[in-house]
Amino acid sequence: MSAVVSVAGIRKTYGSTVAVDDVSFEVVEGEIFGLIGPNGAGKTTTMECVEGLRRPDRGAISVLDLDPIRDVYALQQRVGVQLQEAQFQKRIKVWEAVDLWGALYRTPADGARLLDQLGLADKRDAWFMTLSGGQKQRLFIALALINNPDVVFLDELTTGLDPQARRAIWDLVRGIKDRGKTVFMTTHLMEEAERLCDRVAIIDRGRIVDIDTPAALVARHCPERTVLLTTADAGAEERFRATRAVDNVIRAETRFTIRGHGDDFVTEVIRCLSDHRIHVADFRTETPTLEDVFLKVTGHSIRD
């Protein structure tokens, strides 16, 4: 697996504000890599440096072994770009945008087929201003794919979309990956990152906090697990407390919240229930999410 994007120690300041500081990471061929963090964390600045739209004050970037600033025109032929909160001319027609974009690249994809694949075929004569939020984003994805790029950059792709449109877009992004392309995306939605990304880099206040697969990040930073169950068994509390891997038990009438750690924790709780023939009316486990990881590693919620 070779690195498609390689960022080494970049720093970018706007006046006295440090937007991005000492950021390093690599995006590997064929993966969906996510840069995740709250608004203002430096995601877009980092991505725009990688795209060659901004010049970092310090550090080195290479994309497909090209320099995004020096080789910008060579690079543009091989990457697809979707910008955050981009707009078009209100009265441009969908097919006109696709037609213009296609004319700008040396090896354009079939625009009509792209529109078809992205569910925009019946919108080809519609003005941009009449499209819904999801349709606009699908058009931007179509334009990002028009040159058959090796890498696709997606910046806050689903911001402002309703859950249904968001899920449709997620399927499209997986489709991009299935075509063998590398995807580098940013998002402040942890659920989106968890569902889409093979690996994520957590960025906060301009700095990378950690990089790994979502599962590994959760295992590393939030190893604790929770079992929630309901039982009327009077002796259950004592049994739970005596179970290996259990850290604490909270009881509210018949409802129990059992916290523990380690891979065996849930199995141990189930064994305890089985061994002591404890009758449960309800049983469910809670696994920490990237949102919990973010809180743990940065000390504040991503929603702040």
């Binding site: 739209l53 032929q77 910008l83 707009q87 001319q89 009265r91 213009l100 004319a103």
Partner: protein, 248 residues
């Protein structure tokens, strides 16, 4: 990137034509004002030489200058709307060169200026029966050249206006007062000394002088000074714009 330039220009023209109010305002106001004002002043019996020269010289030149200013104002508005909407940034993230993106906007304005001039001439010829002889190509060239020069001021304005909402009013405030000191309505020589100095640095003055001269049949050579001034304006303002132009 000539193909991109042509495609973008053609696309921008089509998009412009889809906004009826803007299209009508741009293409029809100059010919209509020529017809209406020409009718009003041309009908006065035994018109004095001053009045008749108003209809046959000042009015056409005014319509031409107005067309040019309209183009500049429209450019400022469009560039600031495109910047605010991220359209400029989006175009810039394609293989289109920055100069291609901006040249397309200039070309659109020049094409619309030429079309407006054609309509104005047709209106003047058919409705007012103003005789127009063979200076027309020359006059069109003078108008396009003047427009191009003043458009460079438009790029500077487009860089300086903070948001698209301010674009139109700011452009009007800067551009239209220039009309009064341009020598179009009253001769610059008759102005107070202070205003005369101001009038000398107003770019529009040179455009008016060139257009008037070409309209009445003077040679381009006689207006070499105006041409030089307009070239200077274009170079200076394009240079300034290149330094301060913001894509986002």
């Amino acid at each position: 990137m000539l193909r991109g330039l042509w495609k973008l220009t053609w696309l921008e023209l089509k998009i412009f034509a889809r906004e009826p109010l803007g299209l009508i305002g741009t293409l029809l106001i100059p010919p209509l004002s020529v017809v209406v004002l020409g009718r009003i002043f041309g009908r006065i019996p035994s018109a004095s030489p001053r009045l008749s020269s108003f209809v046959t010289v000042d009015l056409p030149v005014f319509a031409a200058v107005f067309t040019a200013l309209n183009a500049v104002q429209s450019l400022v508005t469009i560039v600031s709307i495109y910047r605010e909407g991220g359209i400029l940034k989006r175009l810039r993230a394609t293989p289109l060169r920055p100069q291609t993106i901006l040249s397309a906007q200039v070309l659109v304005k020049l094409i619309l200026t030429a079309a407006t001039l054609a309509l104005t001439v047709l209106a003047g010829r058919n409705v007012l029966r103003i005789s127009i002889d063979l200076h027309l190509i020359s006059f069109a060239a003078a108008l396009l050249f003047s427009t191009l020069s003043i458009l460079s001021i438009g790029f500077l304005l487009a860089s300086l206006v903070p948001t698209a909402r301010f674009a139109q009013p700011v452009a009007s405030l800067v551009l239209y007062p220039m009309l009064f000191l341009s020598g179009l309505f009253f001769p610059v020589d008759g102005l107070p000394a202070g205003l005369q100095i101001v009038a000398r640095v107003i770019p529009l003055r040179y455009a008016v002088s060139l257009l008037k001269g070409i309209w009445v049949g003077e040679a381009w050579l006689a207006h070499a000074g105006d041409v030089a001034a307009l070239v200077t304006v274009a170079v200076v303002f394009a240079g300034l714009s290149a330094r301060v132009f913001r894509w986002e």
